[in-house]
Symmetry: C2
Subunit: 418 residues, 2 copies
């Protein structure tokens, strides 16, 4: 590693408004005119320009810091954004101009290059928080669906080799703190204090800089996969299928049979392709919220406790073990999830490929109409995942079928630990 210039200057533990010679660009969240709304400036190259707490790339900022520490990256590196702009335009939509509709991402995050061109000329380092590209994706299960006649190759969306053309967007979290607080019906001061104290003291600016209202938290973001014609997404006269999927690495990648995650995700993609082929569009929203946002260590601890508890793993005790270990059954906060749907301009979902009552309520409470809810087909549920699905149906998950009573739930048992 190369030598590093020693920095004799004083370490500033937390900034205060008075530290700023020049006032940072104000952000007027929800303003229709992006220049009035103002860019989110979370650069580390010029501290006087910063108008947000935290920095870009979520937790990957820690790796960036390692790169600077080890001398492989200059701290003042400026991104060369040539040719990186979105390959498809999304928005603006009326939902972008409502300061309460979208509070956990920056709707202008993909178009910073055009919306804030004049600031770039003034030397501001404004980074996109959303990137939009295209891809060909191939899932072996879709090939099987073609062979079974459930999906038809059209040569345009679903190609002859079974690959699918998608438009996809990666979205970094950008939190407008007054809006987040309002969404949870708490005071902004309580929110800021908890975010600071309950993370072990992350970002003192949360409590010292009440003038900075935007926070880029070090959490995973969201990826959107769009199937079919983008114009259909916002057209209430054309069908739209949506699945909002929360990450489950063990199933999504490795195919663990204790849950329905990958099978339901693939079914969602199938419905998206069918709906696009009918002249509509399909949207998969993939949220980085591993293990119900409790993380994978907690998830595996809960698996052990479920399999080993007296009476074995069973549907009537499904939620209790998570609550013992984590204190809650779920930490995903679906209240924030609809933001991405509003960024896409969605007002009506013909087919919501989800049984989650929490997701359904969050979506409909945010003003989006849901016509039909599509449960996972029974034959896609792995045997060991019956515990999960029956427990969830009994707890309020949507099902057109029967819901088991406590006695019935106690009889739904999972595999023992080998």
């Amino acid at each position: 590693m190369q030598e590093r210039k020693s920095s004799p200057r004083h370490i500033i533990l937390t900034s205060h408004p008075s530290n700023f010679g020049s006032q940072p660009i104000p952000i007027r969240w929800g303003d229709k005119d992006p220049m009035q709304r103002g860019p989110v400036v979370a650069t580390l190259a010029n501290p006087t320009h910063r108008n947000a707490i935290g920095t870009h790339s979520g937790g990957y900022a820690v790796y960036r810091a390692l790169a600077v520490a080890s001398g492989v990256l200059q701290a003042d590196h400026r991104a060369d954004l040539t040719n990186t702009s979105p390959v498809e335009h999304i928005g603006p939509y009326p939902s972008w101009y409502d300061p309460e509709k979208i509070v956990s991402l920056d709707p202008f995050g993909a178009m910073v290059g055009e919306a804030f061109a004049s600031y770039y000329q003034e030397g501001y380092d404004i980074r996109p928080t959303i990137a939009i590209t295209k891809a060909h994706v191939y899932l072996p299960e879709l090939q099987a669906a073609v062979e079974k006649g459930r999906l038809a190759i059209d040569g345009k969306l679903l190609k002859s080799k079974g690959d699918v053309l998608v438009t996809k967007a990666a979205i970094e979290p950008v939190w407008y703190l007054p809006g987040i607080a309002k969404r949870f019906q708490i005071s902004e001061a309580d929110l800021r204090r908890a975010l600071f104290e309950q993370t072990g003291g992350m970002f003192p600016e949360l409590v010292t800089r009440s003038d900075l209202e935007v926070f880029l938290p070090p959490i995973g973001g969201v990826t959107v996969y769009i199937f079919g014609d983008l114009a259909a997404i916002t057209d209430p006269n054309r069908p739209l299928a949506v699945r909002v999927h929360d990450e489950c690495n063990g199933s999504d990648v490795f195919g663990s049979d204790i849950c329905t995650c990958r099978p339901y995700l693939v079914h969602g993609i199938e419905v998206c392709i069918q709906t696009a082929q009918e002249g509509g569009a399909g949207v998969i929203v993939y949220c980085r919220k591993e293990g119900r946002a409790l993380g994978e260590v907690t998830k595996f601890l809960v698996y052990n406790a479920r399999k080993r508890q007296e009476g074995g793993d069973r549907a009537d005790a499904y939620f209790a073990r998570t609550e013992c270990v984590a204190g809650v059954q779920d930490m995903r906060f679906q209240e924030l999830m609809p933001d991405v749907l509003h960024w896409l301009g969605i007002t009506r979902i013909e087919r919501l490929v989800s049984m989650s009552n929490m997701k359904y309520e969050a979506i409909t409470n945010s003003g989006i109409e849901v016509v039909e809810r599509v449960p996972i087909p029974d034959d896609l549920i792995p045997q060991d995942a019956q515990v999960e699905i029956e427990a969830k149906k009994a707890a309020g998950y949507y099902t057109p079928g029967a819901v088991l009573d406590p006695l019935g739930l106690a009889e739904i048992k999972g595999r023992e630990m080998e």
Copy 2:
């Protein structure tokens, strides 16, 4: 959401050693006796017990903070860890007692319940940073490998329905800062300062609490999948296959054809199963380092720039576009990666299923012998991923085949943006 008690007490922006009435338990990293080594205490319930910077669950601590803010979780909730202990024992191994062999995870992280039992009785809230469980996994590609005769069902490891029995471990990052600094050959003070400043001011304790040497960063961790007999992992007379795989959501889950990630991962699993069936074992290490630890927004920006540059997407310009956008080609820091192999007690790898020279050098430089390097079979490389694989081979990736010269690289072209 329920009402929240207002907290009239003063907000402490950063702690100092003198703030502690009682001294926290010292950590003597690398000590053989866990009671001498000391537990990592990152609880938020009792600040006087903390002997580490940051808290548990990586970035998911932010969701935990939301749960406390919104009133669904009590700030002083203590995990009930009944029945959560590892279902298989891993270690201790001699590598655990070398303070320089493992610096980015806590080798005792899975066995806190037994190693620190007396501290629990004294009221310390010590959380496991590693969880070990078992699972059945099913990947459609493995079923195809069975049908093609490459894999044989044995009824024990590879079951009749094509599902595979695995032992798996989730590991949270736990950084011993003096060891991390030494690994990168920089001073601990420079490391701490960069981690604080280059994240936008995350965790002032990094610079105010030099007495706290352990840091739990808000980044993703590692998942280990073990195939076959665990005892074979540490037995140099039995074959061991290893693939260290860095997360690529677009390919691993959705099967994007611009890279080789999922095909190579599945091939690694296939080699792991074969090696286990030969009487050895296989290990897949899955590292949460999306987009070379640059994050997915940067990755998609780079895709756009590659496809749109003059002359189109081609192997001779593959790395340049990442460097333009991110300032570096790669931020994964494979220097820290071998820690998990040392946690598993690995001293010899018969088959390393990776072509990465960075991974190979990190592993062998850490003292692990590598006998054979297994490249991805040519027929598994998607057409559009030829750009990546040829560029990487030319840049030093292992290949038993030919390496293209600059003229040849310029002729390897990817699909245009549609």
